[in-house]
Symmetry: C2
Subunit: 347 residues, 2 copies
């Protein structure tokens, strides 16, 4: 079903106010969750609201905490997130990265002890909309086997890059698993096979059966050994740069997804060396060449990451935002003051 | 067959001197090619020497050109590589990134109009060996279809990250195709199937048959749509940051692999916010946890990227460096002054 944007946002906001967020934080977070759903990323939009409320109730997220500057050097700042709200912490830090880039050409903000930022792409899009190239990533608890292992050993740490194109930003928002667990659930519930193998079954065979992968917990790193290697390196890099917790530390603390994690935000001024006209013309030419690639199926359109998102967003604003009915009912119940979070089936 | 390191290096050096490199450049490049072969990356070590010589002969690489500072702002410097030697240009720029990181915490060098840097990991390893975290990537001409297309439309742009661990750097060196064309050739010549599908055949079916992929030129992006998206974003980011050529521009100029490309080098001081002891202990703990993951096959060892490279390097130094006999004969012939490059079958 589809829900009108304003209704979705206001309902989420009410739920978050009930959870203990103040007016300003509830507004920002509701906008962010609604925007993710509007962009077609339901898993980290509306669907994530009940779990966020649960985390606040458990004390895993402190809705009153603010990011605090620990230390700064040159083009880099380090913040302690004090387990505050992942979204507001990450927005603060991406905005600071842009401010640092204005001064130093490049700006880097490293954040430790923060909580789940929901959709990673939010902050890359934000930096691009401010006119800057943005790179960001997070570390997480282990949910995916390293290549060659049969037990979870690394996070599916998303990596995001945004290119500030005036005719529509190009934005990569890529987790290190081929499919997220949420996506497996969607296919299983629909009785469908995955388009490509998404993990191993309990006997160690590569499979496209989503249920078999959920059972084995052997989700596949994207590109086999490549996504596995990139995931561990992003984890190490985040913990090193922010002087914070690695995925192993998060595993030991075991306080839900991403609680206490590190996030990195890098902004870059696109017009340091080329004029706006030159840079934008280069981007437009490159994107046009990619988009006009010969399609493998007649009528299919090749596009750059982010281009379809803009279409989905437009459609959501016109026709309403696609929501899962069960989750929508649950968030409405929270918004009405029923804070008993007992069944969060879509994660 | 295996060749002793010093013999390999000196032979490559002689070949490069014949190609017109000066003493210093020939020494540095020979060391770099030999080191790549010693690390098990033959494709960009010895195997690449004949093609490099060919490029010099064609005037696509100017062995006398030096990188020239175009402009600097804060923590960022932009260089024009003037189509100089890819290796020496990239070494210069990675060293400059480290110098900038000493001052600003993070340092970023953007290089345009350069040439093939051979093995991307060289510069990430170099930054890590200097004690800095290193990130680098390049753009290239199109050699891989974008997701949904059946013709080459993007480069397999490698992305490298190095973590400066004192007990052995952790280094990701990852191209955006599941397998390189060179690897397909190796499997085809050995009469073997690829371990996992590496592309599409002419009829659009995913296949593990290396020859069928060579015929169709439909090499698979790593992680399907994910590697495709990351490849185009790395291309745009490199061209934007360096104010240089995109993959589309390189396609139009059509002067061999990477001629005129952009490369980005980012260095980060790992001890900005944590002490050396804290950071190294975090890295050791995280790597130990990854390495002790339960293996899917008894006796198989899980490891982090770079760890096996160090073992291969050690073995190469003890037993000699593995080389392809045909290429070795060819490079020896060049070293002896026979500069007629007619058959470069292993690329």
């Amino acid at each position: 079903m589809r829900i009108e944007h304003e209704v979705l946002k206001e309902t989420i906001k009410k739920a978050l106010l009930h959870a203990g967020l103040n007016e300003e934080a509830a507004e920002v977070c509701a906008k962010t969750h609604a925007a993710s759903s509007a962009d077609g990323i339901e898993s980290h939009g509306l669907n994530r609201v009940p779990r966020f409320v649960e985390y606040v109730q458990k004390g895993w997220v402190d809705p009153k905490a603010k990011p605090q500057l620990v230390q700064a050097k040159g083009a880099v700042e380090n913040y302690d997130g004090h387990l505050g709200i992942g979204i507001t912490n990450a927005i603060y830090c991406s905005d600071r990265a842009v401010e640092l880039a204005k001064i130093h050409g490049i700006g880097c903000v490293t954040l430790k002890n923060t909580t789940h930022w929901m959709r990673g792409g939010t902050y890359a899009w934000r930096m691009a909309e401010a006119g800057y190239m943005g790179i960001c990533w997070t570390n997480t608890e282990s949910c995916m086997p390293l290549w060659g292992s049969d037990e979870p050993g690394v996070g599916n740490n998303p990596f995001c890059v945004a290119i500030p194109r005036e005719n529509g930003p190009i934005v990569l928002d890529m987790a290190m698993s081929q499919y997220a667990y949420g996506k497996l659930g969607v296919y299983r519930l629909a009785g469908k096979e995955l388009p490509y193998p998404g993990g191993f079954d309990k006997d160690g065979h590569l499979t496209s059966d989503p249920g078999a992968i959920e059972d084995s917990k052997r989700i596949l790193p994207t590109g086999y050994w490549k996504g596995s290697g990139m995931a561990i390196v992003l984890d190490l890099a985040a913990a090193l740069m922010a002087n914070g917790k690695s995925g192993t530390d998060l595993d030991e603390e075991n306080q839900g997804s991403c609680t206490g994690c590190c996030q990195i935000f890098i902004a870059y001024d696109p017009y340091l060396f080329g004029s706006r006209d030159e840079i934008q013309a280069m981007l437009d030419k490159r994107v046009a060449a990619a988009d006009s690639s010969h399609p493998e199926e007649a009528g299919r359109k090749v596009s750059c990451p982010g281009e379809r998102t803009i279409q989905v967003r437009k459609e959501s604003m016109e026709k309403g935002i696609q929501v899962n009915e069960q989750i929508w009912e649950q968030v409405k119940a929270i918004a009405e003051g029923n804070m008993d979070i007992t069944d969060i089936s879509v994660r």
